[in-house]
Symmetry: C2
């Protein structure tokens, strides 16, 4: 898990990288024609007193996971408190319940996952509680109380929460120090600024992955979106162009999916609230349906919310929540968003129908048909 070589600094005038060989402790200068910065991201810390205690965990790399599992194996914790309710936090909650650890999730927002529509919240909280996870929303943590180097409770504006294991899942922040010190432009979202070719402000230097910003095609704005598939795609583009190619990365549409116990959630685009913040006259439609034709064995309730721009009729985003493989449908929205489709176009899509896989009218078609009545086009 220890990288042998660590880049310490980039000298853009001499086109050299100062590299530390961690095995020997020697520093040497490596020359480059083209450089790719892929410094990734690290767990965001909250800056709370006591958060560096040995039983307060973060999770970014494999070493973090190994350390946390070893602690659980050796100390057999009975009560865990998780601060945060994003992807990683809730995956940790699920893993802890699998180990029979009593688990409480404290979150600053009213509902889990900051990037979801509020309508999804109650369903996710129900799923957590059905599996023995206590969820407390609108909680602000202040500090950890420690005893002998170990945290014993976290103080919040909703009272104290005791535990023998704490986990902080507050997202990640991009590792941009090397790039900043080299004088590369850092964008408004806090990541390394790159163009479609993954070039930084220095045309000899490319960047890719969680350390750099990407364009959100729906809002047109640069954003941070530290996801593995996006980083992978950017890496290919940066590598190809560093080798003299001319590949392009066209940006993201915010497509993601997540499983919470047996509940599946897919999301794409931007939320209604985010659209309104951008000054768009966003309208939305919620549709409750089934994952299969209602009488077909195994049908499960499903709920879709879509958001559109009232002026243009363009789809802006959607959340799909259900079971029975429903999260696999979110890419229908992802491709529609990539192509700037309007509700009118979406309402006429030819989507696959068979009783085991959807109702005759796919929930997306129902939602588009209903919502297009509320928009200009």
């Amino acid at each position: 898990m220890v990288l042998q070589h660590q880049a310490l600094a980039v000298d853009r005038v001499k086109a050299r990288v100062r590299v530390l060989d961690r095995t020997s402790g020697k520093e040497t200068d490596w020359p480059y024609d083209r450089l790719i910065v892929a410094t990734g991201a690290r767990s965001r810390k909250l800056g709370l007193a006591g958060e560096d205690s040995e039983n307060v965990f973060f999770l970014k790399g494999l070493a973090d996971g190994i350390r946390m599992r070893r602690f659980i194996d050796e100390r057999q914790p009975r009560q865990a408190v998780i601060v945060g309710a994003g992807y990683i936090a809730l995956e940790v909650a699920e893993a802890l319940r699998e180990r029979n650890v009593a688990t409480t999730v404290l979150y600053r927002g009213a509902n889990p996952y900051s990037g979801l529509e509020p309508e999804m919240g109650p369903k996710i909280v129900n799923e957590l509680e059905a599996h023995g996870v206590v969820f407390r929303g609108n909680v602000r943590p202040f500090s950890f109380t420690t005893e002998n180097g170990r945290a014993v409770k976290v103080a919040t504006d909703q009272g104290d929460f005791s535990a023998d294991l704490f986990f902080i899942g507050a997202g990640v922040q991009p590792n941009v120090e090397l790039a900043r010190e080299a004088g590369l432009t850092i964008g408004p979202a806090g990541g390394i600024a790159v163009n479609e070719r993954m070039e930084t402000s220095d045309p000899a230097i490319f960047a890719a992955g969680d350390c750099c910003e990407k364009v959100h095609r729906v809002s047109g704005r640069p954003v941070l979106s530290p996801l593995g598939d996006t980083a992978n795609k950017e890496g290919r583009v940066a590598g190809e162009n560093a080798a003299g190619g001319n590949a392009r990365f066209y940006g993201i549409v915010g497509a993601a999916c997540v499983k919470v116990f047996s509940l599946e959630i897919g999301m794409a685009g931007i939320t209604e609230a985010a659209a309104k913040k951008l000054g768009l006259a966003a309208v939305s439609q919620v549709v409750e349906a089934n994952s299969r034709v209602g009488i077909y064995p195994g049908a499960q309730p499903t709920m879709l919310k879509i958001v559109a721009d009232q002026a243009s009729g363009r789809l802006l985003g959607g959340n799909w929540i259900g079971r029975d493989g429903e999260a696999r449908k979110i890419n229908t929205l992802a491709v529609a968003l990539f192509n700037d489709m309007t509700l009118e176009q979406i309402s006429r899509l030819d989507l696959a129908y068979a009783p085991p896989f959807s109702p005759v009218w796919d929930p997306l078609l129902i939602a588009a048909n209903l919502l297009k009545r509320k928009v200009g086009k």
Copy 2:
């Protein structure tokens, strides 16, 4: 199940429909301003001697299903022979196995489902055989031998097959007689010709559903595609326009999905063979992957084949076969086809990734990345 009123003829000059009241036996003329023809389709017969025997079944409406179930309940057949291997034929095979009836499927093609890529064949045949269905490809039936009004065997170019229940699943043919006799244009595929507004050759008459042709957006040609979701969409367009509106149906992309026991198959667009018949220089790529990240519990093998036009790089179609909800992914291709996306564009799509739902590189992205090397764009 008996409709009270049956349209016998359309007099376009007088704008009247001759209607038979089946209860009273009386015929009357109904005037119209706008007429919608939605005469549907009927089971295609093979014209074989003996196919009208009481134990030779077709399946189109509910009455057919009730008749067949009653026969099974009362006669307890032990051996069934199915002629055909399309959606309905294989759903019947599954239902018969559920009732513990020994079942043999005879099909004119080498593999089940005429509209699929040949690579899907062995997987489907394996699934059928794993559930006790005998599949025999490249079989031509000649006639049924009957005894006392009941079929006892079907003679084919591969020998005789005995059974006490026969089922013919040879697709459907559009009911166009009323339209043809009224002088409406019948299109090259044999259905009522309509435009995007679902208008027939007479602007006062609309048609919708299985009786009429639709434009396949990939080939640009009129086709028959008797599917419930398409018929539903066309009906809305015809109805809206008959009432003075201006709705449009933009055609189909051939999106469909089907379940054979626990195997799921999604399809969209046209096959490689169909593309070559149209004179396109089609190229294709098969990708074998997993339904989840390989180490994630529950991962199942999945296979995707995509087809593209070598000259333009445009996606022409694809088949996706697997388990674990994979068929729900076919709409990703359906939306890409609707938007005439190229492999280059598809290879850059932002698709949702999470370990329970796909590998980091979605099989569609892998396929597009591989296949774009073989095309001009």
